[in-house]
Symmetry: C2
Subunit: 472 residues, 2 copies
């Protein structure tokens, strides 16, 4: 049998590491803090890319590619931005055998490069808006790393836009947050809270950062996608101006937004179980694995191939004719999270049927071979829906309301999950809560409620409902 | 009118620069030697990626992602390889605020990373073959750069495979060269010569390098894709061994192969003309642009939209309702290389027809609106075919045979193109030819002929027919 993994209830962190390695998603490398993304992991990222890219383009996004290096003087042009990123960048100091005249960092994010580009590219209102995106890797010199969740290099997309008006920039910032939220809920089957970051938690250089926050199986939060409104701050720092219809010089208003390979970590930590990975059908590189029973029999070979060919017209389907036992194959495919397997043996063929097994529930469904296409469509669709509902139920069961600080601390100590509590708007309370409980403000949800009048921490008048949590 | 560009006959290098900039493919950046690839350029790369990736996967290739950094000790493991690349890499020496214990280069190519990975990943013959590829950017610290053709950072794919036997590695090396050749000929409409590099010109660390060589409009050669057989050289340097079926330890045999964004430069230099870029229909991001004539009339708006919707089911099609004159739009779309434009005005609508203009020939074709889908398919297919034939005719007209050194030098001085000449196999003759004429050996074509008995340079017994040329 496939080697067992640590139980998630026993040691969630070890369970996570076991799954990423045993499911063949990633592995460590000789480059400290950097991972290799193996075929099973990269195929998930390719599906994320394809689906997100399609949704981006429907909103008018165009893809570009910027240099991976940022000269130090360029990084320093926006004060808050450089303060946020300079401590964690990798510096290139030599090109070939010569020292560089000016050192350059490997991009941790590309606001400064896009601004430098837009300053030349944008002259008139006719050049606006610019709605550009790039798919690339970025580098942040983290001290402690974990596969997919935090590594020194990771893959992502970063959108960077420039608009004529503040209103347009704000609308684009929110639009992209909803593109992320819809994608994560509809395709990854992960429910999210949509909201705004507090000033303490916002992006370095942003006027406002919006976020989607997901809850992992262990009750910790994962920031899953962010969208930033920069106002005209970067435009002033970089001199990005256009001539409007009245022939007046104006600064542009900018946004940026990104989603990363950490979403593969989210899929694992929301849907996985003690048998390994569980992939939502809409993101699974292989949706159906057909396992022949008594594969030495010609009728089995022929039927499996016939069914595969029929299903391949609508689904991504593979067959496993390796020389392992069926039991071994079952365990292996469960570990890899393949949504469904179909078992076909001589007795099934005689009865003109097969057995379909759902990865999420283990449910076995007998299906007539005549209607295999329709039934697989139904089963995969039901599984996608059930996985979302199950994740939502789990999330909702781990959202707690706290009305005073003792209650807040007790919940944070005894439970794991999101705590909803009112906040006065003061960063001092965020700092105190972090110090006392380890929790940070995850977001001020768009859907505000007033569950109390006073700040859960200091007791002063409350301004906002905040989701708090311990985060990855 | 759109600003005119330099004529290609007058100054080919300036014409090239004018086209890349005016067609909106790329621009310079503040990062010396690095370019931005703008939407019109990146969309071509996306199409190259999609089509190549599909062809790769049909041969069993799986995509992965490796770190972008290579620790210095890893780069040094294979002697020839480090000698070839160390002089032109960018070095990272600091991470965050601390100096690194060991400096790392930004990958110029990833053989060493894949080898390090395979050394852990491959244990048994059951783990073979590994046929992995990655899409990424690489960095080579070039002194002189030109957009797409030679820049300090460029995008590419690099395939890296490991096999049980030398025969299998050789077969994969050749297979991938033919994948490249077929792609370039069928999709980019560029004829290529398939052959093997001489030892002097092969990849650092390779046993054999195969190449496809294309001829640009100015008669210079462009190396367009290479595939390398490493034998077991890297495997011995990195200790990549597997246990065979007889339980004996064996070294693997490896290959690598790559194609880059310089192919966008090839498209420009093979197909472009004095009006700008000309894109082969199969690679064009927009295949058809519909230009309304008298766009203020409602019947024109409605018909254009109806035709667009019908064509959009089979082609990538756009409409241009901007407030420029039709003549300006024509020039602009010609500059951008859009394969066909459709003109529709009130008189056309009355006659239930439209005018289709081919970008390559300027030919105007009157087409009934009733059969617009079939006719556009025919026109685009004919254009793709004609563009290849035209490029091939031009290439063939610039291939010269030389039987003695005086003739060789005279052709190299007076003409531009490929010179076919016999070679003794001695590197000294390659060096002398380079010094005397500036030409290098481009390849020893798979299709060998014996056009003379003796080496064109030294007069000793000839071993191989070689294509010589001045190269980008």
């Amino acid at each position: 049998m496939v080697q067992a993994i640590t139980s998630m209830d026993e040691d969630f962190a070890q369970w996570y590491t076991d799954v990423v390695l045993k499911a063949g998603l990633t592995d460590y490398t000789s480059v400290k803090g950097c991972m290799v993304i193996k075929p099973a992991g990269y195929a998930i990222w390719e599906n994320i890319q394809r689906e997100l890219d399609r949704r981006f383009k429907e909103t008018g996004v165009e893809n570009v590619y910027m240099p991976m290096f940022i000269p130090e003087s360029l990084l320093q042009k926006e004060k808050d931005h450089v303060e946020g990123f300079a401590p964690e960048v990798a510096w290139v100091t030599h090109g070939g055998l010569e020292p560089l005249q000016e050192r350059m960092c490997v991009r941790p994010t590309s606001e400064t490069l896009f601004c430098d580009f837009y300053a030349n590219e944008i002259q008139s209102y006719r050049d606006l808006p610019k709605v550009y995106n790039q798919w690339c890797s970025v580098v942040r010199w983290e001290k402690t790393t974990r596969p997919f969740l935090r590594s020194r290099e990771f893959l992502w997309q970063e959108g960077h836009t420039a608009h004529a008006t503040a209103e347009e920039a704000e609308a684009r910032t929110e639009q992209m947050l909803h593109v992320y939220a819809d994608f994560v809920e509809e395709v990854l089957a992960i429910p999210v809270v949509r909201g705004r970051k507090t000033d303490k938690e916002k992006f370095a250089g942003a006027k406002a950062t919006y976020t989607i926050e997901a809850l992992m199986h262990d009750g910790k939060a994962l920031q899953s996608g962010t969208s930033h409104n920069f106002g005209d701050g970067f435009a002033r720092a970089f001199g990005i101006q256009y001539t409007d219809k009245e022939n007046k010089l104006q600064y542009v208003h900018q946004t940026s937004w990104g989603m990363t390979t950490r979403m593969i970590g989210a899929i694992i930590m929301v849907h996985g179980d003690d048998n390994g990975l569980v992939l939502p059908p809409r993101i699974a590189p292989t949706q159906i694995m057909i396992v022949p029973i008594r594969q030495q029999e010609e009728s089995v070979v022929n039927t499996v191939e016939e069914i595969r060919a029929r299903l391949a017209k609508k689904f991504s389907v593979k067959t496993d004719f390796s020389d392992k036992s069926p039991g071994w194959k079952f365990s292996e495919q469960e570990m890899r999270g393949i949504p469904t397997r179909i078992e076909i043996g001589p007795k099934d063929i005689e009865a003109n049927q097969c057995v379909v097994v759902r990865r999420d529930t283990g449910e076995k469904i007998t299906v007539s071979l005549d209607e295999i296409e329709e039934k697989m469509a139904e089963i995969l669709e039901a599984m996608q829906k059930d996985m979302f509902e199950r994740a939502k139920k789990h999330r909702d069961a781990h959202v707690y309301d706290a009305r005073d600080y003792e209650e807040f601390k007790r919940i944070m100590l005894e439970k794991s999950g999101f705590v909803r509590a009112m906040w006065c708007g003061d960063e001092a309370c965020e700092n105190k809560i972090k110090e006392d409980t380890g929790a940070t403000s995850r977001c001020m949800p768009f859907e505000q409620e007033e569950i109390a009048d006073t700040c859960v921490c200091c007791g002063k008048k409350a301004k906002k409902l905040v989701y708090w949590g311990k985060a990855y």
